[in-house]
């Protein structure tokens, strides 16, 4: 099985069972940084991280250039990558059974570009045009065929309280109607909306209010998606303890929106950045973190917002999101601080495999 895959891996190379990444500044996110550390990888998983590790016999060594940084692969918690906008089944306003992963094309050029930007895991979501759009899934950008890139078919369900879900020619036509419909649906204890976490599109303070009210009324496991205008709802969100999948940030946005992620994080809201690709590109994921830092967000919080928080939101915290023993060896070697936009990706490892290199075109 594994042998068969080799042909699919773009980079033709021998596949050692054991790999050691040596040197560089290791930023595990979940633990303290290690200058010039080493990471032992076997069977695609991280076995050990330390300042110095004895290199096992037969192990391959990946030497990281001086000054380079090693971080876990970034995770985009809400994207339509490689789906060409084809993620809205608009005949009805409630289509919970539609699966976003089924619109994914693993050979899409944007997937390569995402790897080159240090993104290794992406949540694929249905669009905002339906009140309930369907299931959110997760793919690993391992350069493999769709079915083998699939990490989760159902990581949650997408609902939308945004204006896009309101249409003049079908129910609901207003947010009052939208909330009434959702409430009606949730009242049934066997409701399909209660089977998996809800990802609720809510951008404006009013939409966020409605999401929080629904959550409180039905005790939902919920993530607020977008929350771009959450600046006025910081305290409410913090009190709710719900995570926020924030973004995207557009360069022409008002200053207040750039300041919002920092304010949310400071208030203790678990925050992950999202690209909503193709609304922006996966290359934009760390740019958003860089912008947020520029507008007051704590550096560490910004890095967590690209790694551990999205992993938590997607239910992947045991599998990826940080450089920790037992987790997938999704590692990205950067030429420097990834939050400095002039830094670039040197090497990307996904499940311990070199999946992308800096000289890649």
């Amino acid at each position: 099985m594994r042998l068969a895959l080799v042909a699919l891996v773009l980079l033709a190379q021998s596949k050692p069972d054991v790999l050691v990444v040596r040197g560089g500044r290791i930023v595990p996110i979940s633990g303290p940084e290690i200058e010039n550390g080493m990471i032992l990888i076997a069977d695609g998983k991280i076995q050990k991280i330390a300042a110095s590790i004895e290199i096992p016999a037969g192990a391959k060594v990946l030497d990281v250039p001086k000054g380079a940084w090693v971080l876990p692969g970034f995770i985009d918690a809400h994207s339509h990558l490689g789906s060409a906008f084809d993620v809205e089944e608009s005949t009805e306003s409630l289509t919970p059974e539609a699966r976003a992963v089924e619109a994914f094309t693993s050979r899409h050029p944007d997937v390569r570009a995402a790897l080159g930007s240090g993104v290794t895991t992406v949540a694929l979501a249905p669009g905002n045009g339906n009140l309930v759009g369907g299931r959110v899934g997760v793919v690993k950008l391992n350069g493999q065929r769709y079915d083998r890139a699939l990490l989760r078919t159902i990581a949650g369900t997408k609902a939308s309280l945004g204006g896009e879900a309101l249409r003049p020619d079908r129910e609901p036509t207003s947010r009052t109607g939208a909330v009434a419909m959702l409430r009606d649906r949730l009242r049934d204890p066997k409701s399909d909306l209660l089977q998996s976490p809800l990802f609720v599109h809510a951008t404006t303070p009013g939409e966020i209010e409605s999401a929080l009210e629904l959550q409180a009324a039905f005790k939902l496991k919920m993530t607020i998606v977008h929350a771009r205008q959450a600046g006025d709802a910081v305290d409410r969100l913090a009190a709710s303890k719900l995570p926020v999948a924030f973004g995207p940030l557009f360069v022409s946005d008002r200053r207040e929106i750039f300041e919002t992620p920092g304010r949310l994080a400071k208030a203790g809201v678990p925050l992950a950045f999202i690209t909503d690709a193709p609304a922006t590109s996966e290359e934009h994921l760390r740019a958003m973190a860089a912008f947020a830092v520029k507008y007051g967000m704590d550096r560490d919080a910004a890095l967590r917002a690209l790694t551990t928080v999205p992993a938590d939101i997607l239910g992947l915290s045991k599998e990826c999101g940080s450089i920790a023993e037992g987790k997938a060896a999704d590692l990205v070697v950067w030429t420097g601080d990834p939050l400095s936009l002039a830094s670039r990706v040197e090497v990307v490892l996904v499940d311990g495999q070199v999946t992308w290199r800096g000289d890649d075109k």
């Binding site: 557009f250 360069v251 022409s252 934009h284 740019a287």
Partner: protein
């Protein structure tokens, strides 16, 4: 930090009275040569009177201590949307000027100044092939117009963030050609009239019979096109191009009429780099941050385009362009000019090239490099004082100077 701000504020107050200001001790990226460590910049009457390491400080000068800081030239956005109200788009024409569209009461420019931008080029965002005249605007309180007619803007392909078809592009080219052809005839008619008039005058002087020539009608549109055609003129022609075929057509048009052409966007510039370099045509690259959609024109968008062009020897400036593809047409993109250059640097530009692309190279493309764009003696004192190395996370603008006056001072956090 608080103390520093206070010192800066005090020194600033005094400097209003004092004609000479000195910035002492910073690392200076002049954009015109190697960086100078512990340098001194002398500012007099809004201009840089001297810059270097061993420069005497004039006795009555107001000295701003900047040791440990970095100074770069004021940033120049060669493709900004500042002051342009949303929806300002309709069929253009050569004589239309963006100055008629600017909303000088918009406040967004303040944020650009806070990020070190001191000068912007704003072009018309019209629908159609001939858009009109762009201008260079200073980000001082008066919004001084530095160059009233900086360039005539044309479009070969997508205009205003829309998508174009190959057919449209191939139709645009002969239309543009015809426009310049008719302008050429207009110029010739004018020359003929002046010659005929001189002949008539001469005949009249000799008391001979002479028929007055008919004066050709003044056409403001043709006048502008004629200025673009004038070999001795200064009016440049900026052409929006994305696809490789459009780039080829633009270069052909430049060749046909010997225009002073600058390409905008050049989204497919990577593969076309050699041809552009051969034609010695400068390019304003951008937007570096990509937004939305799969329009044909932006399909091959790449952060590496700037590097590919520079590598081929093309003069490159990076513009913010506003995030047209996000459908937001916001003026705020100029704020992130430095970030745009930084991201381009992550894909092949050196940091020096990245800095030049938003300072001196931009000035050259706008035709203002004799007075702006680098930290050199005699140029306008447009300076940005940073707390660290440019393009690094954590580096912030502490002060922006425009014509020697601090137009922004960062408040202590």
């Amino acid at each position: 930090m608080r103390l520093l701000a206070l010192v800066l504020a005090l020194s600033l107050q005094a400097s209003e009275k004092s004609p000479v200001t000195v910035l002492r001790g910073a690392k200076v990226y002049t954009a015109a040569g190697a960086p100078l460590e512990h340098a001194i910049i002398v500012i007099e009457n809004g201009k840089i009177a001297a810059v270097g390491k061993e420069i005497p400080v004039p006795p009555d000068a107001r000295v701003i201590e900047a040791a440990g800081k970095t100074i770069i030239p004021g940033l120049i956005d060669p493709a900004s949307r500042l002051f342009l109200p949303p929806g300002e788009r309709s069929a253009g024409s050569a004589e239309q000027t963006v100055l008629d569209a600017l909303d000088l009461y918009q406040r967004d420019y303040r944020e650009a100044v806070e990020q070190g931008v001191t000068t912007v080029y704003v072009g018309p965002a019209s629908l159609g092939i001939v858009n009109g005249l762009g201008a260079v605007v200073r980000l001082d309180a008066a919004h001084t117009i530095l160059v009233k007619e900086a360039a005539l803007r044309l479009t070969l392909g997508a205009s205003g963030g829309e998508s174009s078809t190959a057919l449209e592009r191939y139709q645009s080219y002969p239309q543009l050609k015809q426009a310049f052809e008719s302008a050429r005839q207009y110029v010739e008619a004018g020359e003929k009239y002046r010659k005929d008039l001189a002949d008539v005058e001469a005949k009249k002087a000799k008391k001979e019979e002479a028929k007055e020539p008919t004066k050709p009608k003044v056409d403001p549109r043709q006048e502008v096109l004629a200025r673009a055609l004038d070999p001795k003129g200064t009016l440049r022609v900026r052409i929006e191009v994305h696809t490789a075929d459009a780039i080829a057509l633009a270069l052909q048009l430049a060749e046909d009429f010997k225009l002073r052409v600058i390409l905008e966007h050049a989204t497919d510039g990577g593969p076309a780099a050699e041809a552009i370099a051969k034609a010695k045509t400068p390019v304003v690259v951008g937007p570096v941050f990509r937004y939305g959609g799969y329009s044909v024109d932006y399909l091959n968008h790449s952060t590496a385009t700037a590097a590919a062009l520079v590598k081929a020897g093309v003069p490159v400036a990076i513009g913010s362009f506003g995030d047209e593809k996000a459908g937001q047409w916001g003026p705020g993109a100029s704020r992130f000019l430095a970030e745009s250059a930084a991201l381009a640097a992550s894909r092949g530009l050196t940091r020096d090239q990245a800095l030049a692309s938003i300072t001196l190279e931009a000035a050259k493309i706008l035709g203002i490099d004799k007075t702006h764009g680098s930290i050199e003696k005699g140029k306008a004192a447009d300076l940005v004082l940073l707390n660290g190395e440019p393009f690094e996370s954590g580096t912030v603008v502490e002060q922006t100077f425009l014509d020697g006056a601090a137009v922004y001072t960062r408040r202590a956090p």
